[in-house]
Amino acid sequence: MSGVRSVSCPNCGGSLEVRAAGYSASLGCRYCGSILDVSRPEVELVAAYNREATTFTLPPGSRGTVFGTEWQVVGALRRSDGEGAWDEYLLFNPYVGYRWPVASEGEWQFGTMLLDRPQGDADSVTWRGARYTRAMHQPDATTETVVGEFYWRVARGDRARCSSYERGHDSLSREESDGEVNWTLLVPVRAREIEGAFGLKRDAPANKRQSLYVSHADHTDDLPRMFMIATVAAIVVLALMLALSGPTQRAAAIIKAPFGSTREGQMIGTITIERPWQFVTIHAQGSDFENRWVDIDYSVVDRATGQSIDGYGLVEHYSGRDSDGTWSEGSRTTKTLFGRLPRGIYDIYADAQAHAWPIDEAPQASGWNAPEVLDVRVEAKTGSVPWGNFWTLLLLLMAVPLLVTWRRVRNRE
């Protein structure tokens, strides 16, 4: 392929070959692990190490044809992120350039460095018209072992900030170190294909760990945790809301709603707020009327201060028949929620007036010359749970994981 240059390791004296002479800047001694500068005619020792030779699945110098191109392995790195280690190889072909197979947990990915950078933000990027979504948390990668040659100054202990963006089985890997950002397209390749290309035995596994670029993202996927946290939080809040709402007291009465006038000051009953603050709900249930509505004005009067807290309820029901058939609307029941009621004794009063539709005039009761009066059952109750608060909380809790799910689905379409 390219010119091969023989050098000796200044540290251990081992005989080494520079296979991409003229391209390579660094060489990791396969005998002692020392890092050499091979960019100039005279080899310089950059960092001396004395360790046993590290074996890699693809030893530097081996050749194989992958995706129709013959490659020579010129370098190998073992990197770790604190949770595990994986191997990265540098392949070289003088007519094509470099490629990066990555072996992790027996799975392989084939990496090609991108010359055109993806555009986007921290959550997603677009490359050549395709959107890639950011995978979950990835810790920094540290270079543990260096063997072979590289086109940049490589050293043990090099750290890079890694992030990965996925689209289906493909991913874009972003690495940032020393202010330099590199993007690599990683596509899965069968282990059998790599093993066949480089003449490996089937039982020669790479380092066992979760795949950095595919499975690792799933391993640290925070979406299930988000759903779990949201569910647990909702259950806890519901339980505490129920506990904070009580105790329950009721007062009920049937009030009269005449047509044409308001019957005022109808006593519903007395309730006692025993907690520092409590909700009170007032339910109204109209009788079996049709094409009528009843306005109900509530007054919740604090016996201690005489202060009245007012509210409004409406029961109504209409029906008829038109060219589309029969129709009906309205509800004969209604609920009015009172909040921020401090501890104390309260008298509940209601003013009620009935109306007729479509003509709001007092209908006459048959056989009597008195206006019709509608009965409405009203019940006041302490210890209510503000369900609107709970559903709003649930919506806000689930919004984030649902949004993440939606973005993933959209990006994979």
Partner: protein
């Protein structure tokens, strides 16, 4: 633990605190006690 998860946990803590505080003080944005009386047009809206 990702930053996104940390932010979500903080968001959850904020919501839970707010919900429990609202429950203790019996406050709800959906309560009806401030509604003015007789501010309603009665009758069917059917056309």
């Amino acid at each position: 633990m990702s930053w996104r998860l940390i932010v979500f946990i903080l968001w959850t803590v904020l919501l839970v605190s707010g919900a429990l505080t609202a429950s203790y003080y019996a406050w709800s944005p959906f309560s009806d006690e401030a509604r003015g009386s007789h501010a309603f047009y009665g009758g069917s809206t059917h056309k």
